[in-house]
Amino acid sequence: MTTVADAPTQTPVRPPVILRRPKETTGVWSWFTTVDHKKIGIMYGVTALVFFCLGGIEALLIRLQLAGPNGTVLTASQYNQIFTMHGTTMVFLLGMPLSIAFANYFVPLMIGARDVAFPRLNAFGYWMFVTGGVFLYSSFLLGGAPNGGWFGYTPLTSTPLGLGALPGRGPDFWAVGIVMLGIGSTTAAINVIVTTLNMRAPGMTLMRMPVFVWMMLVTAFLTLFAMPIITVALIMVFFDRNFGTSFFLPAKGGDPLLYQNLFWLFGHPEVYILILPGMGIVSEILPVFSRKPLFGYPVVVFSGIAIGFLGWGVWAHHMFTTGLGPVAVSAFSLSTMLIAIPTGVKIFNWLATVYKGSVRLTTAMLFALGFIAQFTIGGLSGVSLAVVPADTQQHDSYFVVSHFHYVLFGGLVFGLFGGLYYWFPKVFGRMLDEKLGKWNFWLMVIGFNLTFFPMMLLGIYGMPRRVYRYDAGLGWGSLNLVATIGSFIIAVSVLLFIINAVVSRKRGVIAGNDPWDGRTIEWSTSSPPPEYNFAEIPEIQARDDLWHTKYTEDDDGVLVPLPSGGVDTPAATRAAAAPTHRIHMPSPSFYPLVAALGILPLAYAAVFHSYSWAFLLVAGGAIILAFGIYAWAIEPATAAEADH
C-alpha cells in the first residue's frame, strides 16, 4: 500500500536514475508522466474517442462504397483494408479502452480507494494502448493496412507473403499490433482485479460493490484469461508467415481450424469483455434516474458472473459451418441458447428497476433505455443464429453484421455514451448540455436503426459480408442506401457529442458534488475529485452508501428524505473536505512511457525483420525497453522528496 497516509517513509537514498523524477502534476508534461488513475482514465477516454472517430470514418467509407451497386469509392484492396481496420479499431481501440477508461476513473472512486493497486503499471498499459494503436495505423503509410479481417482467418493470413494469398504486410502489422494492445489490456485487467479485491474501503463488502465495479471485475478476469489465447494464436500466425512454421498450413500438416478454435476461444469471451462494462454502466444509471434501487442486485450480479463463465463455452458457434460434426454443433447450439437466459434475466431486472420509479429522462437515462431496447433486438437475433440450420443461412451474411452491431453499438456504445453523460460532471466538474444531449441521443437512435435494421433484411435476402461490391439487379441497392443515410446521421450525432463535450468542459453548468442525486460514493467527493479522491476514506455502511445518507424508507418501503441528508451529512462532508493531514500519492514517472516506447521499435523490427536495418531497431528498442524496465524497477513508487 503506497497510498495510505501513514505509509513508512522511504529511505532517502538517491537511486541511480538518469532521468530526473518528474514532479509536475499540471501542464502538458504532467500527462506524459502521470500515474494518477483519473488522469490516465481521461487519457484512455480521449484516445479511445479519437480512435472511435477513425473507426467511424472507416465505417462511413464502407457505407459510401456500398451505398449503391458496383460502388467505386474504394478499390477492392482499399475496401479490404478499411473493413479490417474498422473492426479492429472498434474492438481493440474503442470498445476495450473506453471501458477501461471508465474502470480506471471510477473503480477506485466507487470502492473508496485513492488509486489503483499498480499506478505505474496502469500508465504503462495506457502507453501500450497508444503505441499499439499508432503502430497499427502507421501500416497505412508503410505498405498497406491489415487486410485479412479483424478475425484474420488462416491460412489466408498465415500464408507466407511471397506466395501471394494476401498481398502486403498488413497481417504482420495486425498480429504484432494486437499483441501490443493485449499487453496493455492485460495490465489494465490485473490492476482492476487487484484493486477491486484488495483496496476497497472499510465496509465495502463484495456484495455492497456497485454493479459497475462487479462487471468490470468479471470483465478483467475474462481479459486476463482471454488475451493469452489470442497472443498465442497471433504469434503462431506470425511464425507461419515469416519463419516457415506450419501451425495452420494444411499443406504441411497444420490445421486452419485450430486457429479458428483459438481465435474464438478468445473472441467470444471478448464479446462479453465488450458488453459487460456496458451492462455495468446501465445498472448504475437506471436506479439513479428511477429513484429506486436496482431490482434484484444479487441476481444481476450473479447473472453477470454466469455470463462470464458461460462465455467460455460458446466459442464454436462462430464455426457452425466449418464441418465440426452434429454432436459438437448441437452442444454449442445449446450452450449458446443457455447464455441467453442470464442475459434475459438482466434485461427484465432492469425494466423492473424502472417500473414504478420516478423516472427522469436525462440523456444518460435515455441512452441506458436505448441500450435495453436495442440490445434486446441484438440478443433475439442472436437466438436465431443459435438455431444452427438457420445459422447456415445467416452466417457470414449481413444478418450477422446487423446482429452484432445491435449488441455492440446498440448495446455497448449506447451504454458508453450513457456513461459519458452520467459521469462527465464528476470528471470535469461541469454538466454536458442536456439539450444537445437529447439531439445526440435521438439522432443516434434514428441513425443507428436506419443503418443496421436494413442490414438484417439484406442478410436474409442473401447479401454476404465483406464484399466490396454487389451487382445491380439483386434488390439490395435501396436497403443499402438507407443504411448509408443512417450511418451519416450517426456521424452527425457523434459530432454533436464532440461539440457538446468541448463546449461544456469550458462553459457547462457547474455540477457540484452530486448533480444527479446519486447513490454511490463517487458522488460524495468533489467534482472533479482531488488527486487523493477522498480526504478521509469513507466507511461503508450499505450498498448504495451515499443514498442511505440521504434517504431512508418508511414501513411501506416508501422513500423518505433524511433531515439534512445528502452531501451535507458529516460523512460526506469529511470525504469532500480538505484533508487534515498530508496524503501521500504515488509520484509521477517517466518509465512506463519509456518502456512502452522501447517496445515500438521492436514491433517494427518484427514486421520488417527481413531487412538488414531491422537489427538497428532491435538494438535501439531493446536498449530503451531494458532501460525503462530497469529504471522503473529501482525507482521508488513515491519519490523521496515527496515524503518531506
Binding site: 434484484g296 442486485y297 441476481v299 424502472v354 438457420a390 457470414d396 436474409i460 435476402y461 434488390g475
Partner: protein, 381 residues
C-alpha cells in the same frame, strides 16, 4: 380488464405475424433470397425459423414496448410523487423470468437439434460432385463411372432435379503440385452458399466437408463465396443450373466429348495459347478430365457465364477479359506468364494482364490476337 389484455395479446400476435409476412412479401426475387427456398434444405430451414422469428418478434415487441412504457408511464412530472416505493427485488418473479425463457429456448432446441442431425445424414442414391474452392472461382468435378472419364468444369454447377446431390467440398486439389498456401494445390478457406437451395458450408483446406443439395424445380440459382478469401472475395460467384435428369445426362455426356477443336488444329490460336502468352501454364483446352490452376476451358463455349460467373460469355467481353482481366476483377498475378504457379519467382493468383505491367522481354497482346484467342475459345462447345 382480462378482455382488454387478451385483445392486446392478439394485437401483438397479429403485428408479429404481419411483420414476418411482410418480410417475405417485400423480399426481392434476386436468385439469392433465403426466403424464396427452392431446395429441400432451404425449405426445412425456413420452416424451422419462421415460428422462431415470430416468437422473437413478440418477445422483442414486449421488451421494447415495455421499455418505452415504463419510461413514459413513470416519468417524473408535477403532481406525481418523486418518492417511489423502494422495491429491492422479488425472488418469485425473478425465478419466473428465468424459467419462462428457459422453457421457450428448450422448445426451440428440440427441432433445431433434430434438423442438425437430419442435415448431417449421408444422402442415399446421391449424385456425387466434388467442389473445389480456389481464389476466386469454383471448380466442379464429376467423377468418372462405367469406364467414362471424369469431367472437370468451372463456374456453373449442373445438377439433375429430383435427386440428392452429395457435394464433397475441398480447398485442396491434390492433382496440382502447388497451392497458394505452399503445398499440393491447397487454397484458403471459402464457403459454398446457394441461398435458395441450402445453407452454406465452408470449404476448408485439409478436410472434406459435405453438403446435400436437392431441388425439384429446374432453374438457375445464384451462389457466392461467403467466407472472406482475399482480394476478390466479392467477385467469387457461381451458378447452380438444375435441369431435368435427361437434360442433365445430355449435358454430362457432351462434357465428356473431346473438345470440338483440337489445339493442334487451331493454327495461330494454338501458338498464342501455348507459347506467346503461355495461357497453358494455367489452363487446358484439350481435355475436360484435367484439373488445372485456372478454369478448364475445354468446353468453355457450353457455358453461359465466365470469370466466376461474373460476366455473360460474349465475344467482346471475353476479349476484354483475355487482354486485361485484372482491370475487370482485381487479382494479384503479374508473373503468371513466366512459368506455371510454383515456379521460382512466380506469384500468380488469378489471371494476369497481357496489356499492362508486361514482364520485360515479353510481348504485349494486340486486339487482333485477343480476337483470335476468343474466337478459338468460343468454338469449344
Amino acid at each position: 380488464m382480462t378482455n382488454r389484455n387478451s385483445r392486446r395479446g392478439r394485437w401483438w400476435l397479429l403485428l408479429a405475424g404481419a411483420a414476418t409476412v411482410a418480410l417475405a412479401a417485400c423480399s426481392p426475387a434476386n436468385g439469392k433470397n433465403t426466403l424464396a427456398p427452392h431446395g429441400t434444405n432451404a425449405h426445412q430451414i425456413d420452416n424451422l425459423i419462421y415460428p422462431i422469428w415470430i416468437v422473437a418478434v413478440i418477445v422483442g415487441l414486449i421488451v421494447v414496448g415495455g421499455t418505452i412504457f415504463v419510461a413514459l408511464r413513470y416519468r417524473q412530472r408535477p403532481g406525481r410523487s418523486d418518492r417511489p416505493k423502494q422495491i429491492h427485488g422479488n425472488l418469485t418473479v425473478e425465478i419466473l423470468w428465468t424459467i419462462i425463457p428457459a422453457v421457450i429456448l428448450a422448445v426451440i432446441a428440440v427441432p433445431t437439434i433434430s434438423l442438425i442431425f437430419k442435415e448431417d445424414a449421408t444422402p442415399s442414391n446421391a449424385v456425387e460432385v466434388t467442389v473445389v474452392g480456389k481464389q476466386w472461382w469454383w471448380e466442379f468435378e464429376y467423377p468418372g463411372a462405367n469406364g467414362q472419364p471424369p469431367v472437370v468444369t468451372a463456374d456453373e454447377l449442373h445438377i439433375p432435379t429430383g435427386r440428392n446431390i452429395d457435394l464433397s467440398l475441398k480447398a485442396c486439389d491434390p492433382s496440382l503440385p502447388y497451392g497458394v498456401n505452399n503445398g499440393p494445390g491447397c487454397n484458403v478457406i471459402h464457403s459454398f452458399w446457394v441461398p435458395e437451395l441450402a445453407g452454406k458450408e465452408d470449404v476448408v483446406p485439409g478436410q472434406t466437408n459435405h453438403l446435400t443439395l436437392r431441388t425439384s424445380t429446374a432453374g438457375t440459382y445464384l451462389g457466392q463465396c461467403a467466407q472472406y478469401c482475399g482480394l476478390s472475395h466479392a467477385n467469387m460467384h457461381f451458378r447452380v443450373i438444375a435441369q431435368s435428369p435427361t437434360a442433365y445426362d445430355a449435358w454430362l455426356s457432351s462434357q465428356r466429348q473431346v473438345p470440338a477443336v483440337s489445339l493442334a488444329s487451331a493454327g495461330e490460336a494454338g501458338t498464342l495459347f501455348t507459347k506467346t502468352f503461355a495461357c497453358s501454364n494455367c489452363h487446358t483446352t484439350s481435355s475436360s478430365t484435367l484439373s488445372t490452376y485456372g478454369p478448364n476451358l475445354s468446353h468453355l463455349a457450353s457455358r453461359s457465364t465466365f470469370a466466376s460467373g461474373y460476366f455473360k460469355l460474349t465475344k467482346s467481353q471475353l476479349m476484354k477479359w483475355i487482354m486485361n482481366a485484372p482491370g475487370l476483377i482485381p487479382m494479384q498475378s503479374q508473373d503468371c506468364r513466366k512459368g506455371p504457379p510454383g515456379s521460382p519467382g512466380v506469384t500468380c493468383v488469378g489471371m494476369p494482364s497481357f496489356t499492362q505491367n508486361t514482364p520485360k522481354g515479353m510481348p504485349v497482346m494486340t486486339t487482333a490476337q485477343a480476337q483470335i484467342l476468343a474466337t478459338y475459345l468460343l468454338s469449344l462447345k
